[in-house]
Protein backbone atom coordinates (compact mmCIF):
# COMPACT_ATOMS: atom_id res chain seq x y z
CA UNK A 1 0.00 0.00 0.00
CA UNK A 2 1.35 3.36 -0.97
CA UNK A 3 1.67 5.36 2.22
CA UNK A 4 1.40 8.63 0.38
CA UNK A 5 -2.07 7.65 -0.79
CA UNK A 6 -3.20 6.61 2.66
CA UNK A 7 -1.55 9.41 4.58
CA UNK A 8 -1.66 12.66 2.59
CA UNK A 9 -0.38 14.49 5.68
CA UNK A 10 2.99 12.75 5.39
CA UNK A 11 3.12 13.30 1.63
CA UNK A 12 3.04 17.02 2.30
CA UNK A 13 5.96 16.61 4.68
CA UNK A 14 4.08 17.45 7.87
CA UNK A 15 5.73 15.47 10.64
CA UNK A 16 5.53 15.78 14.36
CA UNK A 17 7.74 13.97 16.86
CA UNK A 18 4.71 12.54 18.66
CA UNK A 19 3.02 11.15 15.56
CA UNK A 20 3.75 7.58 14.40
CA UNK A 21 6.53 7.58 11.80
CA UNK A 22 4.41 6.52 8.84
CA UNK A 23 6.32 8.53 6.26
CA UNK A 24 9.21 6.08 6.18
CA UNK A 25 12.71 6.21 7.66
CA UNK A 26 13.96 9.10 5.55
CA UNK A 27 12.60 12.59 6.21
CA UNK A 28 10.68 14.40 3.48
CA UNK A 29 13.05 16.96 2.02
CA UNK A 30 11.94 20.30 0.58
CA UNK A 31 11.19 19.91 -3.14
CA UNK A 32 13.48 22.67 -4.38
CA UNK A 33 16.63 20.61 -3.70
CA UNK A 34 18.49 19.00 -6.59
CA UNK A 35 19.15 15.24 -6.41
CA UNK A 36 22.81 15.83 -5.50
CA UNK A 37 21.78 18.09 -2.63
CA UNK A 38 19.25 15.51 -1.49
CA UNK A 39 21.85 12.75 -1.37
CA UNK A 40 24.23 15.12 0.42
CA UNK A 41 21.63 15.94 3.09
CA UNK A 42 20.68 12.28 3.54
CA UNK A 43 24.33 11.26 3.75
CA UNK A 44 24.97 13.92 6.37
CA UNK A 45 21.96 12.77 8.40
CA UNK A 46 23.15 9.18 8.15
CA UNK A 47 26.63 10.08 9.34
CA UNK A 48 25.33 12.06 12.32
CA UNK A 49 23.19 9.05 13.26
CA UNK A 50 26.16 6.70 12.99
CA UNK A 51 28.41 8.98 15.03
CA UNK A 52 25.75 9.26 17.72
CA UNK A 53 25.40 5.46 17.87
CA UNK A 54 29.19 5.14 17.97
CA UNK A 55 29.60 7.57 20.83
CA UNK A 56 27.04 5.69 22.91
CA UNK A 57 28.65 2.29 22.29
CA UNK A 58 30.58 0.41 24.96
CA UNK A 59 33.77 0.15 22.90
CA UNK A 60 33.99 3.89 22.43
CA UNK A 61 33.31 4.55 26.10
CA UNK A 62 36.08 2.14 27.09
CA UNK A 63 38.52 3.77 24.68
CA UNK A 64 37.61 7.30 25.76
CA UNK A 65 37.91 6.46 29.45
CA UNK A 66 41.26 4.78 28.88
CA UNK A 67 42.58 7.76 26.98
CA UNK A 68 41.40 10.25 29.58
CA UNK A 69 42.86 8.05 32.32
CA UNK A 70 46.16 7.96 30.51
CA UNK A 71 46.21 11.73 30.20
CA UNK A 72 45.29 12.18 33.86
CA UNK A 73 47.97 9.74 35.02
CA UNK A 74 50.62 11.42 32.90
CA UNK A 75 49.62 14.85 34.19
CA UNK A 76 49.71 13.74 37.83
CA UNK A 77 53.10 12.14 37.31
CA UNK A 78 54.36 15.31 35.67
CA UNK A 79 53.21 17.41 38.61
CA UNK A 80 54.72 15.06 41.16
CA UNK A 81 57.99 14.87 39.23
CA UNK A 82 58.61 18.48 40.18
CA UNK A 83 58.76 17.35 43.79
CA UNK A 84 61.44 14.73 43.07
CA UNK A 85 64.76 15.58 44.52
CA UNK A 86 68.11 14.71 43.07
CA UNK A 87 70.64 13.07 45.37
CA UNK A 88 74.04 14.43 44.25
CA UNK A 89 76.05 12.09 46.49
CA UNK A 90 74.43 8.99 44.96
CA UNK A 91 74.99 10.26 41.43
CA UNK A 92 78.58 11.16 42.22
CA UNK A 93 79.23 7.67 43.56
CA UNK A 94 78.07 5.89 40.43
CA UNK A 95 80.81 5.76 37.85
CA UNK A 96 78.49 6.58 35.01
CA UNK A 97 77.29 9.67 36.84
CA UNK A 98 80.79 11.11 37.00
CA UNK A 99 81.26 10.72 33.28
CA UNK A 100 78.07 12.59 32.29
CA UNK A 101 78.10 16.26 31.49
CA UNK A 102 75.45 18.54 32.96
CA UNK A 103 73.59 18.57 29.67
CA UNK A 104 73.47 14.80 29.63
CA UNK A 105 72.33 14.74 33.23
CA UNK A 106 69.48 17.08 32.36
CA UNK A 107 68.52 14.77 29.52
CA UNK A 108 68.57 11.84 31.93
CA UNK A 109 66.25 13.70 34.31
CA UNK A 110 63.79 14.43 31.53
CA UNK A 111 63.91 10.86 30.28
CA UNK A 112 63.21 9.58 33.78
CA UNK A 113 60.28 11.99 34.00
CA UNK A 114 58.94 10.66 30.68
CA UNK A 115 59.26 7.07 31.84
CA UNK A 116 57.38 7.91 35.04
CA UNK A 117 54.64 9.66 33.10
CA UNK A 118 54.26 6.67 30.79
CA UNK A 119 54.11 4.22 33.69
CA UNK A 120 51.60 6.27 35.67
CA UNK A 121 49.51 6.97 32.57
CA UNK A 122 49.35 3.27 31.74
CA UNK A 123 48.14 2.47 35.25
CA UNK A 124 45.42 5.11 35.31
CA UNK A 125 44.42 4.28 31.76
CA UNK A 126 44.00 0.61 32.66
CA UNK A 127 41.81 1.49 35.65
CA UNK A 128 39.65 3.86 33.64
CA UNK A 129 39.20 1.52 30.69
CA UNK A 130 38.42 -1.48 32.90
CA UNK A 131 35.88 0.37 35.01
CA UNK A 132 34.11 2.11 32.13
CA UNK A 133 34.06 -1.04 30.02
CA UNK A 134 32.67 -3.29 32.72
CA UNK A 135 30.08 -0.73 33.81
CA UNK A 136 28.84 -0.27 30.24
CA UNK A 137 28.66 -4.05 29.64
CA UNK A 138 26.83 -4.69 32.93
CA UNK A 139 24.37 -1.87 32.25
CA UNK A 140 23.71 -3.14 28.71
CA UNK A 141 23.06 -6.61 30.09
CA UNK A 142 20.72 -5.53 32.89
CA UNK A 143 18.95 -2.86 30.76
CA UNK A 144 18.65 -0.79 33.90
CA UNK A 145 20.45 2.28 35.20
CA UNK A 146 21.05 2.24 38.93
CA UNK A 147 23.82 2.02 41.47
CA UNK A 148 24.42 -1.72 41.37
CA UNK A 149 26.04 -1.25 37.93
CA UNK A 150 28.73 0.93 39.51
CA UNK A 151 29.28 -1.40 42.48
CA UNK A 152 29.55 -4.50 40.30
CA UNK A 153 31.84 -2.76 37.81
CA UNK A 154 34.01 -1.56 40.68
CA UNK A 155 34.26 -5.08 42.07
CA UNK A 156 35.16 -6.57 38.68
CA UNK A 157 37.82 -4.00 37.84
CA UNK A 158 39.29 -4.06 41.34
CA UNK A 159 39.54 -7.85 41.19
CA UNK A 160 41.14 -7.79 37.74
CA UNK A 161 43.63 -5.12 38.76
CA UNK A 162 44.70 -7.11 41.83
CA UNK A 163 44.52 -10.50 40.09
CA UNK A 164 48.28 -11.01 39.98
CA UNK A 165 48.50 -10.98 43.79
CA UNK A 166 46.38 -14.08 44.36
CA UNK A 167 42.67 -14.72 44.93
CA UNK A 168 42.33 -13.27 48.45
CA UNK A 169 44.05 -10.05 47.44
CA UNK A 170 41.89 -9.90 44.31
CA UNK A 171 38.74 -10.30 46.39
CA UNK A 172 39.84 -7.63 48.85
CA UNK A 173 40.86 -5.28 46.07
CA UNK A 174 37.54 -5.81 44.36
CA UNK A 175 35.67 -5.03 47.59
CA UNK A 176 37.69 -1.89 48.16
CA UNK A 177 37.20 -0.57 44.65
CA UNK A 178 33.51 -1.46 44.78
CA UNK A 179 33.09 0.55 47.98
CA UNK A 180 34.97 3.46 46.47
CA UNK A 181 32.92 3.48 43.30
CA UNK A 182 29.71 3.12 45.34
CA UNK A 183 30.64 6.24 47.27
CA UNK A 184 31.40 8.16 44.09
CA UNK A 185 28.18 7.00 42.45
CA UNK A 186 26.10 7.95 45.50
CA UNK A 187 27.63 11.38 45.30
CA UNK A 188 26.86 11.66 41.58
CA UNK A 189 23.25 10.54 42.06
CA UNK A 190 22.50 12.74 45.03
CA UNK A 191 19.40 14.94 44.99
CA UNK A 192 20.54 18.40 43.99
CA UNK A 193 18.64 21.49 45.01
CA UNK A 194 17.17 21.97 41.53
Amino acid sequence: MDTNQASPIYAQGITHPLLPPLGGPNPVLPPELTPEEKTAVLTQLRWTRYSQIGMESCAFKTLASGTIGFGLGAFISLMSASLQYEDPILRQQSAAGQALSSGQKTLEVFKEMGRGMWRSGKGFGKVGALYAGSECVIESYRARNDMTNAVAAGFVSGAILAASSGPKAAFGGGLAFAAFSAAIDMFMRRETKE
Binding site: M1, S7, P20, C58, E139, R144
Partner: protein
Protein backbone atom coordinates in the same frame (compact mmCIF):
# COMPACT_ATOMS: atom_id res chain seq x y z
CA UNK B 1 -3.94 2.16 -5.51
CA UNK B 2 -7.36 1.40 -6.94
CA UNK B 3 -8.29 1.27 -10.60
CA UNK B 4 -10.18 4.26 -11.98
CA UNK B 5 -13.47 2.83 -10.72
CA UNK B 6 -16.62 4.49 -9.55
CA UNK B 7 -17.18 6.30 -6.28
CA UNK B 8 -17.95 3.23 -4.09
CA UNK B 9 -14.59 1.58 -4.90
CA UNK B 10 -12.66 4.75 -4.11
CA UNK B 11 -14.45 5.41 -0.86
CA UNK B 12 -14.00 1.78 0.21
CA UNK B 13 -10.27 2.09 -0.47
CA UNK B 14 -10.19 5.30 1.53
CA UNK B 15 -12.03 3.63 4.42
CA UNK B 16 -9.52 0.80 4.47
CA UNK B 17 -6.67 3.29 4.44
CA UNK B 18 -8.18 5.32 7.27
CA UNK B 19 -8.77 2.19 9.34
CA UNK B 20 -5.20 1.05 8.81
CA UNK B 21 -3.86 4.46 9.79
CA UNK B 22 -5.96 4.40 12.95
CA UNK B 23 -4.69 0.92 13.81
CA UNK B 24 -1.04 1.86 13.28
CA UNK B 25 -1.45 4.98 15.39
CA UNK B 26 -3.12 2.99 18.15
CA UNK B 27 -0.33 0.38 18.20
CA UNK B 28 2.29 3.12 18.22
CA UNK B 29 0.71 4.88 21.17
CA UNK B 30 0.39 1.62 23.08
CA UNK B 31 4.03 0.73 22.51
CA UNK B 32 5.22 4.17 23.58
CA UNK B 33 3.07 4.17 26.71
CA UNK B 34 3.93 0.62 27.76
CA UNK B 35 7.67 0.85 27.15
CA UNK B 36 7.85 4.23 28.83
CA UNK B 37 6.21 2.94 31.99
CA UNK B 38 8.43 -0.15 32.02
CA UNK B 39 11.82 1.30 31.18
CA UNK B 40 12.10 4.92 32.22
CA UNK B 41 13.00 5.72 35.82
CA UNK B 42 10.44 8.17 37.28
CA UNK B 43 13.29 10.23 38.66
CA UNK B 44 14.25 12.41 35.68
CA UNK B 45 17.89 13.20 36.37
CA UNK B 46 18.66 14.26 32.79
CA UNK B 47 16.95 14.70 29.42
CA UNK B 48 18.93 12.11 27.44
CA UNK B 49 18.31 8.39 27.69
CA UNK B 50 20.87 6.32 29.59
CA UNK B 51 22.46 3.28 28.02
CA UNK B 52 20.31 1.06 30.19
CA UNK B 53 17.14 2.87 29.20
CA UNK B 54 17.85 2.76 25.47
CA UNK B 55 18.72 -0.95 25.64
CA UNK B 56 15.50 -1.52 27.60
CA UNK B 57 13.41 0.34 25.01
CA UNK B 58 14.97 -1.63 22.14
CA UNK B 59 14.14 -4.88 23.88
CA UNK B 60 10.66 -3.65 24.88
CA UNK B 61 9.65 -2.77 21.32
CA UNK B 62 11.02 -6.05 19.96
CA UNK B 63 9.18 -8.04 22.63
CA UNK B 64 5.96 -6.14 21.93
CA UNK B 65 6.05 -7.10 18.26
CA UNK B 66 6.97 -10.69 19.12
CA UNK B 67 4.05 -10.94 21.55
CA UNK B 68 1.75 -9.43 18.93
CA UNK B 69 2.90 -11.98 16.38
CA UNK B 70 2.53 -14.94 18.72
CA UNK B 71 -0.92 -13.91 19.89
CA UNK B 72 -1.93 -13.41 16.25
CA UNK B 73 -0.73 -16.89 15.34
CA UNK B 74 -2.63 -18.46 18.25
CA UNK B 75 -5.78 -16.59 17.37
CA UNK B 76 -5.46 -17.72 13.75
CA UNK B 77 -5.19 -21.36 14.79
CA UNK B 78 -8.10 -20.92 17.20
CA UNK B 79 -10.18 -19.25 14.51
CA UNK B 80 -9.24 -21.98 12.03
CA UNK B 81 -10.19 -24.71 14.48
CA UNK B 82 -13.51 -23.01 15.27
CA UNK B 83 -14.34 -22.59 11.56
CA UNK B 84 -13.32 -26.14 10.66
CA UNK B 85 -14.64 -27.97 13.71
Amino acid sequence: GGMGGGMPAQSANLDVAVAELDMITDVFNRIVSSCHSKCINPRYAEADLNKGESVCIDRCVAKFFEVNKKVGERMQTMGGAAAGG
